[in-house]
Symmetry: C2
Subunit: 386 residues, 2 copies
Amino acid sequence: MNNFEFKNPTKIIFGKEAIKKLENEIPNDAKVLLLYGGGSIKKNGVYEQVKTALSNFNVVEFGGIPANPEYDTLIKALTLIKDEKITYLLAVGGGSVIDGTKFLSAAALFNGATPWDILTQKIRTEKGMPFGTVLTLPATGSEMNSGAVITRAETKEKLAMGGPGLFPEFSILDPQVIASIPRRQLANGLTDAFTHVLEQYMTYPVGALLQDRFAESILHTLLEVAPKVLKNPSNYQAAANFMWSCTMALNGLIQKGVPNDWAVHAMGHELTALFGIDHARTLAIIVPSHYKYNFEAKKEKLAQYAERVWQITEGSIDDKAYAAIEKTVNFFHELGIDTKLSDYTIDYQGTAEEIAKRFTDRGWLALGEHQDITPEKVEKIVKMAY
Amino acid sequence: MNNFEFKNPTKIIFGKEAIKKLENEIPNDAKVLLLYGGGSIKKNGVYEQVKTALSNFNVVEFGGIPANPEYDTLIKALTLIKDEKITYLLAVGGGSVIDGTKFLSAAALFNGATPWDILTQKIRTEKGMPFGTVLTLPATGSEMNSGAVITRAETKEKLAMGGPGLFPEFSILDPQVIASIPRRQLANGLTDAFTHVLEQYMTYPVGALLQDRFAESILHTLLEVAPKVLKNPSNYQAAANFMWSCTMALNGLIQKGVPNDWAVHAMGHELTALFGIDHARTLAIIVPSHYKYNFEAKKEKLAQYAERVWQITEGSIDDKAYAAIEKTVNFFHELGIDTKLSDYTIDYQGTAEEIAKRFTDRGWLALGEHQDITPEKVEKIVKMAY
């Protein structure tokens, strides 16, 4: 087991009617900016519940934060924060709204030349404007971590940020919100959370027995509830397990003491930036090629995953490891998620070279748990994913 | 899954040489009270490491906190805190030293008539004096939770306390400390952590799939590392997994969203108060009778535990459930832990009646996950454990 530090101060309020507890979590004298996305919260009742819970607060609203939260849109919200002297942010939405709110939390107290520096200069936020979240879409885990990913359409870039000042003070998780989520988004959420676990698990063994079993527990639970959630998103028990699994998949716990990969996300983000493909789907495109290309480095953990999660007990380590990749691809297909870039665009030629060039230009010369995924390897992996 | 709230702000610093990081965690202007137990830290090098890390701080010491931290001893430390105008507490020890420090954290800021009220009147501490810990004995999980148990020899009482103000600000976990722990204490730690998980798991199913799997992961890992730790406590990998499993066994995570029992602890505490039996051993005495007496209420989870943790796949639910109890008893025996009260004292007659009377006197009329363990049932369970 590797040395590690772990701290996660976010308060989780989980369960039916949890939104009612919102009013106890925000300081009475706060001036609140309520942030949301495309307006689905006005159709599913969440907006009304939030407004009712906040009836005694001074609230300003900012809607329209898009999927892959867009820098130019967020800059408008930042102006509003300053003009209205906002003191508390409340994100009501999925990972995009929460990530956008984290950017605003950092940018509101940032003293540099331009807020874009937070992303390009990888500035860690030690203290941000306080914020909470009401989660409406389980997927990214952003409700209980301190990271965010922001997109800039102008430059077709998608960059990560974070820091200990960017944990939500609280997050409200009511699994009842899942009943109104479209099937496409549910499939994305399942794929996203599943791949988050893989990024922290599918590396090489370091004797971290408990972390491995926790990771396998989340994978197991996602596999068990996926068909139930897709069949009937009003199944509260399935929804609750789906929601809690997504949060636990990326709240820092399972990544501690073990090597992490995250090369899948680095490549996937570029596919979203270049083609607008849903984040989760870009991960499903990259995972199979990445694991096949790096088969030797990952086969021990792939075989352990085969045995413990897929109950594949026959064959050699190589056999089991390969079968586990196939099982994973089949799982994505069963969710309705395509796993080849050419399933999403006819315009894919040159993508691998473009992504490799971007990584070279940014100095991203060594990704993955062994820090050996060079831009040359990235080019090959992305090509395998065409 | 039941509704729940979860927040755990303790920072964990885990790994080799972690004690060196101590100086970064305590405010520079703090006046520190260093608390420890019987002096084993002076033999195993931990005291020296802590003193070196604190060389730039103003430090007062208080040693001699006994196992089952004793109220009268702690009151002496409380006087020292007030006389010396201490602002920060540092517990260096196992669960007893940490629990004692939590009492002092609460008592230092308590305004009631006598600090004993914190225990008898079940006063929740919302804000205590800040404190950190350096863990020297994995077992209780006290390093990452907000609860404590305090003993008063004068009245032969052992009572629990807690509150959100009693999380350690940080806890330093260096598994290398395990190398010098006596076998008896290692066996106690393994038994204690194992039983902590059982108290939060061995109830009835509520569809909390992830919590169940996390609990099973900890049980599995403890079973896997127990023989390795006992054989060679210098085995760093086994020690690291043992230590992290003990912390995760009682940091609040696996108890959220599921029913909890804790009747085993309630009865066990009395055996320590009456006979001075090691805490962990009292749990091993009570567990088998408690599960046999409440077999019908617990057999579904007992059978799940049999299947998933002990790989018992043959037989009816009753068969599996019963076999799981036997396996658990055998595990305790393999650790060198006796499981009958008569193994510890010849003076056991009347104990069951005495404990039942104490519970009646305190108004503890309904323990366990169904709140149906009356003093009459307690009497029967303890008698079965003779």
